[in-house]
Structure formats: structure tokens, C-alpha cells
């Protein structure tokens, strides 16, 4: 790996109709095939799974959360451990967020100024922490992920305060510069700017264009998936991918429902993360191509089939729906089994997407995926519109 290029991005194939593409992203801790779904290991562990199990699943990159890791185990211990990779026994790629997203989820506890974000810790000590762009990068430098995120000024996606949205958009760019300035590991960590501007077309374009002027190797599309309508959501994604350069990866933050992954890939997105697949597992739900099964339901009590007969994960190879029904939400083993399956589901979906693009059959893939999900062809309007915008007609 050349010391100047901790991220090499090769576009291997493009859909001839839509903006979908298949690429290889080469990072210090390994190669990642995109479009990729990154499972979320918030606290430096993927919800009960050993890293050996992640290897078995074929996970190439996972996400960890700077806010949580900064509080516990804390920077000093991570430093002494030699970074998160060593601490958690994970040798493949990692991505960390900036901690900024907690501004939205914990807004009542946070005050945002030009200096940074002031949090009150959720733990027993209730200590006050100011997260500045510099501090976020300092923590992320210690964690040592292959891709790190700038601290951004997040506004609620559904906010109607244009003045605040504009302020946050410009501030995000100012904070990007501060982040890049304080970034100490440019040779082995990539900083991604975050395109902001919520649902405002003009501001989002300005944000994307401003960030493209910086020397960065990939971009995140932020400020979405926060309760806005799907009509507004896809238009903002489409706008962002229209502007962002084709030779760099685009990461859509916080998106992970199967239908969203298919549509947004058609819109040209390369990377995704979402807690949903692992979270829903802990509540006894298994993902399948036609939606999800709530295994607690009585109908599965004597169902002796696997969750998905076409799935080759260790859970589907070994366990029946009936067994999972009996232990779901009672024994931790059920969480582990469903987490394995749900991560395998996400990875299989992305693998199928990549293969169809490579074989120049992406349009057919999208059409058949949508029919499986909506056998009566009552497709949501936003899906029809979004796909139409990139030339895909549903059958």
C-alpha cells in the first residue's frame, strides 16, 4: 500500500441504464466490494458475534461509534490497546462515525456552538463533554478506523428552520476544514466529508460542491433517513449522486432496509450502514427477501423449515423457525442466531446486486426483487418515481 493512498477505488462495472456501479475499494485493512452494507458494531463488537463469525459471514467492513467508544473504554485504553482493530480482534476494515449523529438523537442534552457540541454523558457520572471537530478526529485517530467521518452540524431532517439549516450546512464545511487540519494519520486513515443541507436542494448542492473542492477520497451523504418522506429522501440522494464525482465512493448514512438498498444503489450509492438488521434480530425478527418474519408469532411454533431455504448462513443450515420461535427473546443464543442470519441476508442482497450489475442484469434484478416484495405490484410511488428517474421501469 502506497503511503499516499490509503483508499484506492476502482469502478469495475456500471449499469448501462441506471447509475448503479460495482467497485473495489482497497483500504489499509483489506479490500471491500461495493455496493456494500456495513453492519454496525456500535461499541466495538457486533452484537454478540465473534470476529471469527464475521469472517465466516464474509464481512469486509464494519462500523463502530466514536461517541460510545470515546466514553468507554475511552481514548487512553484504546491507545494502549493499539487501536480498535487490536482491541476487538478484527483485522478487516473499520469505519467510525464522528459522534455528531448523537446531536440529533440526544439533542435535548446537547448544545451546538461554532466551537463544537457539548454533550452530557449518558452514563452514571453525567459528566459534560465538549466534542469539537478536532477532538472527534483525535479520538478517531486513536480508534484507527480505515475510514473516519468529519464532525458535522446535524439539523433534524424534518426541520423547517431554513436559517438554521443554512448555518449548519456552512458550519459543516468549516468543521470539515478543521477536521482535515487536525487529522494526524492521513497516510492510513481516510476522512470523508458529509454532504449536508437536509431537504433543501440549493443548500445540498452547495454543500456537495464545497466538499468536492477538498482533497478527500470519498463522500458521505448525511442528514437523511431522519423521518423525512421517502419522496423527499430519494430526491436528495439522487441530487447528491448527480453532483458527486464518479471516481470516488459515496456513502449513504443510516440506510439499510432492503428496498432502500436496491433503490439507492440504482441511484449510484456505494456504501450503507444501519442498525436495523442487528437490532430487529434481538427482538426476534428475521429478514427474508419478502420482508421480515417475527418469529415470536404462534404460526412458527411447529414450522420446521429454516428461516430461508436459500440462505446458506450457519443459522439456516442448522436451526428451524420452530426452534427459534421457542427461544426468541428468551435466550441470548436467539439474538446471536438471528444476528448471524440478518447480517448474512444483507450481505447476500448486496452480493446479488453486485453480480447482477457485473452481468449487466441489474434492471432485471430490480424488477424481480420488487415483484417478490410486492406480488400484487402495488409498488410504493416513491420507488416507482426514483427508479424511473434513472431509467428503470417496474414490471
Amino acid at each position: 500500500m502506497s503511503s499516499r493512498h490509503p483508499l484506492v477505488f476502482h469502478v469495475l462495472a456500471e449499469c448501462k441504464i441506471s447509475k448503479a456501479r460495482v467497485s473495489k475499494m482497497i483500504l489499509p485493512h483489506g479490500e471491500v466490494d461495493t455496493p456494500v452494507f456495513m453492519p454496525v458494531g456500535t461499541q466495538g463488537t457486533l452484537k454478540g458475534l465473534l470476529t471469527e463469525q464475521l469472517d465466516n459471514l464474509g464481512v469486509q467492513i464494519m462500523l463502530a461509534n466514536t461517541y460510545h467508544l470515546g466514553i468507554k473504554p475511552g481514548v487512553e485504553i484504546l491507545k494502549k490497546a493499539g487501536g480498535l482493530h487490536k482491541f476487538m480482534n478484527w483485522n478487516c476494515a473499520l469505519l467510525t462515525d464522528s459522534g455528531g449523529f448523537q446531536m440529533v438523537s440526544l439533542l435535548k442534552l446537547a448544545v451546538i456552538t461554532e466551537k463544537g457540541v457539548q454533550f452530557r454523558s449518558l452514563n452514571a457520572s453525567k459528566s459534560e463533554i465538549v466534542l469539537t471537530p478536532e477532538h472527534s478526529i483525535e479520538i478517531q485517530n486513536v480508534i484507527g478506523a480505515d475510514i473516519i467521518m468529519q464532525l458535522d452540524d446535524v439539523v433534524k431532517t424534518t426541520s423547517s428552520d431554513d436559517k438554521r439549516i443554512e448555518e449548519a450546512m456552512y458550519r459543516t464545511t468549516r468543521w470539515l476544514d478543521r477536521c482535515m487540519q487536525s487529522h494526524k494519520r492521513v497516510e492510513d486513515q481516510n476522512i470523508f466529508p458529509i454532504v449536508q443541507g437536509t431537504l433543501n436542494t440549493k443548500l445540498r448542492s452547495l454543500s456537495a460542491k464545497a466538499h468536492m473542492k477538498r482533497d478527500v477520497r470519498g463522500f458521505a451523504i448525511g442528514g437523511l433517513s431522519g423521518g423525512e418522506s421517502k419522496d423527499e429522501f430519494w430526491k436528495m440522494v439522487n441530487l447528491s449522486t448527480d453532483i458527486l464525482p464518479k471516481n470516488k465512493p459515496r456513502y449513504l448514512m443510516g440506510v439499510g432496509f432492503a428496498i432502500d438498498l436496491v433503490v439507492c444503489t440504482a441511484l449510484g450509492v456505494d456504501m450503507y450502514d444501519c442498525v436495523f438488521p442487528t437490532r430487529t434480530a434481538r427482538f426476534g425478527c428475521a429478514l427474508v427477501m419478502t420482508g421480515q418474519l417475527n418469529l415470536k408469532q404462534k404460526m412458527y411454533k411447529t414450522d420446521l423449515t429454516p428461516i430461508d431455504k436459500d440462505c446458506d448462513c450457519s443459522t439456516c443450515k442448522t436451526y428451524t423457525r420452530s426452534y427459534l420461535h421457542h427461544i426468541a427473546t428468551i435466550h441470548t443464543v436467539s439474538c446471536h442466531l438471528l444476528t448471524v442470519h440478518n447480517v448474512a441476508f444483507q450481505l447476500r442482497l448486496m452480493r446479488n446486486i453486485r453480480e447482477s450489475i457485473k452481468e449487466n442484469k441489474f434492471v432485471e434484478f430490480v424488477q424481480s426483487f420488487m415483484v417478490d416484495l410486492h406480488p400484487n405490484k402495488d409498488y410504493p410511488n416513491w420507488v416507482i418515481d426514483a427508479l424511473q428517474a434513472v431509467g428503470i421501469q417496474l414490471k
Binding site: 463488537t45 458475534l49 465473534l50 485504553i77 482491541f87 432502500d260 435466550h331 441470548t332
Partner: protein, 430 residues
């Protein structure tokens, strides 16, 4: 399945093996051994995928009916065995009535049935309904129904009743066994009740038919299960165990269940007990502890057990136990596990169980080796010294922490709801 013992001794340590197991002609399970304790059919925190990373050797899984009772409906339509249903087809299964890892509520007896305290409330099990479950579960081994609801302070009346019930259930089960298809070849084990009253024990032994179809005996009725068993001392149970073993045919397998501490386990092995379980690993894991007691007669003086929740381990990047070859020790550090248990991540107990069960299995390997070369007393002395010297405040705290746990499964269920601290980023789509 047959139990073959090397020497027909009574109150002495002995080596033996379970052989000629149906469909597994080459498998030999050496005793003394510990069956793998399960809840709801799974080793707590361990999926089949992780189990294969824990050990490649064939094992017996212990299936307590109390946590699998609700499988009845599905097992009546499922064609396979209970081991296959719970995803552990590489293991031999053994059905037990009560759960050694969980306190069994005393009392509530009615005529002809014993109370089973399941997650869904009290279920009364008669010999007939029990044998019906046995025929549905098709275990490789099973215990006959017994009334083991006695402990060191049980009154004479309860002891007498438990013996009468156990004799009655024993006969009823055996009569049914003859007429059951599918479990004819199961290894059947009887239970000896009678609390701490030797006369009652004798009465029970005399009352049950000691015939060839019974492969072994459980010395039941010593305790009411759960973490408190760890606190029982060898001296207290010694006279009963000696007496019962002296009155059983020496060719039969002898089992005692419960989360005994390793010092008591060694004493029981010295008295000639062959079969135990790993519920001790479970209660140790649940209190965030790792077993580090010596398993080698020439071993070093490590601490008996480490409480990884303690701040001392926050920056300790070494393995739980230097030299241990388990996955947790070879790839993960004390500091990481300390962190995981402190932020209540599910991986913490997974790693602790991997180590604790691995360590416990090595302990039994060592026990067999020591019996073979006559050094068992040395090991007993070593472990005993270590146990008593570490009986400081820490260890007491650890043990008390275990006893305070009411029902870890319920604790888990509510923890699931609380532990989600990651950001919800997904809005529910249509």
C-alpha cells in the same frame, strides 16, 4: 449405549467409558466427565457455530425438561431427536427433569406428579406424561422421573414422601419404557432420593428394582439446584454419597448434578462419582467471572477465579489465563472482556463461556489423567489450597453475586430492551 468401568471399586476414583453408542460405533465418552449444561436446548450464550469453535470433541448435552417442556407440541410432529432439534446433532443428549443451574422452588407436590417450574408457570408432570415426553424427545440418555425435592434441612416427612414418590415413579417409568418405541435403546438412569437420611436412602435403593435395564443412578435430593449449591461443603454431603455408592452395583454409572465448586467435584470423584454437568460454568459466567483454578497437579498458583468486571483488568491486555488454548484466550484480552461486561455487550458472556467451559473440560481431562497415574490426591490438594487461600472478600462477593440472581433469563429479556444504546437511524418504511 453401555457403561464400562475399568475397576469395580466402590468408594474410590475410577475410570470408565460410555461405549457402543447407537449410530456412533467409534465414539467413546470417557468418565469421570461433565455433560454440557443447556437452557432451552442451547449451551447458554453458545450457538452451534460457536460450539464448533469451542471444541471438536463429541460431548453429551444435558437437556433439562424444565426449560424445554414447551417443545412438546413441535416434538410431536418433528421426526428427529431433541439433539437435532436444538441444533446440536453432533452431541449425545441426556434428558434431566430439573435444571441444575436454577433454583428449584420446593413444595407444591400433588399426588402422582411433580411440579415443574417452567417459564410459563407450574406444570405437573406424572410418570406417564414424562415418558410421553421422553418418547417425543428421543434422547440418547435419560433419567427416570424422581422426586428430588429435599435438601440438608428437609423434615423427615418430606424425605419419606420423596422416597415413596421416587420408587413409585421409577416403577411406572420402567413399565412404560418397555412399551415405548423409539427409546428402547436409550440409556436409562434411575434416581436415588432420601435427602441426608441414610435409612431413607437405603429404603429408596431397596425399593427400586436394580435391574439390568438401568444403566446408572443419579444421587438426587442433595439440594434444590441453583447457585447456592456452590456453597455446600464436601463434608456435609460426604456420608450420604459414601453410603449410596456402597449400596449400588459397582458396574453402574453414578451421577450427581448441580453447580458444585471444583473442590467438591474432586471429592465426589474420589468417592467414585462418574458423571457431572457444566452448570457451574454457567453461574460463574453470569457473575462475569472466569475460571482460572489450577487443573494440573503440578500447576502454578493462579487465582481461583477472576472477576473481569473489576477495574483491575481495564488495561490488562493479556489473556484470561496464560497458556490456555481456548479461542477466548488465544484471540481476546482481559481488557476487552472487562470492557464488554461493563457495557453489557452480549459478546462478554460468549467469551467467558468459551473459556469457562473449555477450562472445565480440561479440568475433567486432568482428573482422568490423574486417576490414571495416581495423582488425583495431589490435584485435590492443589485445588483445595488455591480455593481456600482465595476465599477472601473477592471470592465471597463473587459467590454472593451469583446467589442474588433470581432468573437470568428474565434479566436478559428486560436487558434486551434497555441495552440498545446505538443510534436508531432507520425510519420504518412502508
Amino acid at each position: 449405549m453401555k457403561f464400562i468401568v475399568e475397576s469395580l471399586t466402590k468408594n474410590a476414583p475410577r475410570l470408565g467409558a460410555l461405549r457402543e453408542i447407537e449410530n456412533r460405533p467409534n465414539l467413546v465418552l470417557e468418565t469421570p466427565m461433565a455433560m454440557l449444561y443447556t437452557r432451552g436446548g442451547s449451551i447458554p450464550h453458545i450457538t452451534n457455530e460457536v460450539f464448533k469453535l469451542l471444541t471438536q470433541k463429541s460431548q453429551i448435552i444435558q437437556i433439562p425438561l424444565v426449560s424445554t417442556y414447551n417443545f412438546e407440541d413441535v416434538m410431536s410432529v418433528y421426526k428427529g431427536t431433541i439433539a437435532e432439534f436444538v441444533g446440536m446433532k453432533e452431541c449425545i443428549s441426556c434428558l434431566t427433569v430439573q435444571d441444575p443451574g436454577d433454583h428449584t422452588l420446593p413444595g407444591y407436590h400433588v399426588e402422582n406428579s411433580i411440579p415443574l417450574w417452567t417459564r410459563h408457570g407450574k406444570v405437573l408432570i406424572s410418570a406417564k406424561s414424562y415418558m410421553n415426553l421422553v418418547s417425543l424427545f428421543k434422547p440418547d440418555m435419560y433419567y427416570l422421573l424422581s422426586d428430588g425435592d429435599t435438601n440438608i434441612s428437609s423434615p423427615a416427612k418430606r424425605i419419606r414422601k420423596s422416597v415413596q414418590n421416587t420408587i413409585k415413579y421409577h416403577k411406572q417409568c420402567i413399565d412404560t419404557h418397555e412399551n415405548l418405541t423409539g427409546v428402547k435403546n436409550s440409556f436409562m438412569m434411575g434416581a436415588i432420593a432420601g435427602g441426608y437420611d441414610l435409612k431413607a436412602r437405603k429404603e429408596c435403593i431397596d425399593g427400586i428394582c436394580q435391574n439390568d435395564s438401568i444403566g446408572g443412578y443419579l444421587i438426587d435430593g442433595l439440594h434444590n439446584n441453583g447457585p447456592e449449591v456452590e456453597l455446600l461443603a464436601a463434608d456435609e454431603i460426604n456420608p450420604v454419597v459414601v453410603f449410596v455408592i456402597n449400596n449400588l452395583q459397582p458396574t453402574k454409572l453414578r451421577a450427581i448434578h448441580g453447580c458444585w465448586n471444583p473442590v467438591v467435584i474432586l471429592k465426589l470423584v474420589q468417592l467414585g462419582v462418574d458423571l457431572f454437568d457444566t452448570s457451574y460454568c454457567y453461574i460463574v459466567t453470569e457473575r462475569s467471572c472466569a475460571l482460572t483454578f489450577t487443573i494440573d497437579a503440578n500447576g502454578n498458583d493462579e487465582k481461583f477465579e477472576l472477576n473481569l468486571r473489576q477495574a483491575d483488568f481495564a488495561e490488562d491486555f493479556g489473556p484470561i489465563l496464560p497458556g490456555c488454548t481456548c479461542l477466548a484466550c488465544s484471540k481476546y484480552s482481559r481488557a476487552y472482556i472487562h470492557y464488554l461486561v461493563n457495557v453489557q455487550e452480549l459478546l462478554g458472556p460468549v467469551l467467558l463461556t468459551i473459556h469457562n467451559v473449555h477450562h472445565y473440560m480440561r479440568f475433567f481431562e486432568s482428573i482422568r489423567q490423574c486417576i490414571g497415574n495416581g495423582t488425583l490426591s495431589l490435584l485435590e490438594e492443589k485445588v483445595g489450597n488455591q480455593f481456600h487461600s482465595s476465599k477472601h472478600v473477592d471470592q465471597q462477593d463473587n459467590v454472593l453475586a451469583s446467589c442474588e440472581r433470581v432468573d437470568s433469563a428474565d434479566a436478559f429479556a428486560s436487558a434486551v430492551l434497555e441495552m440498545d444504546r446505538d443510534n436508531i437511524t432507520a425510519s420504518v418504511s412502508s
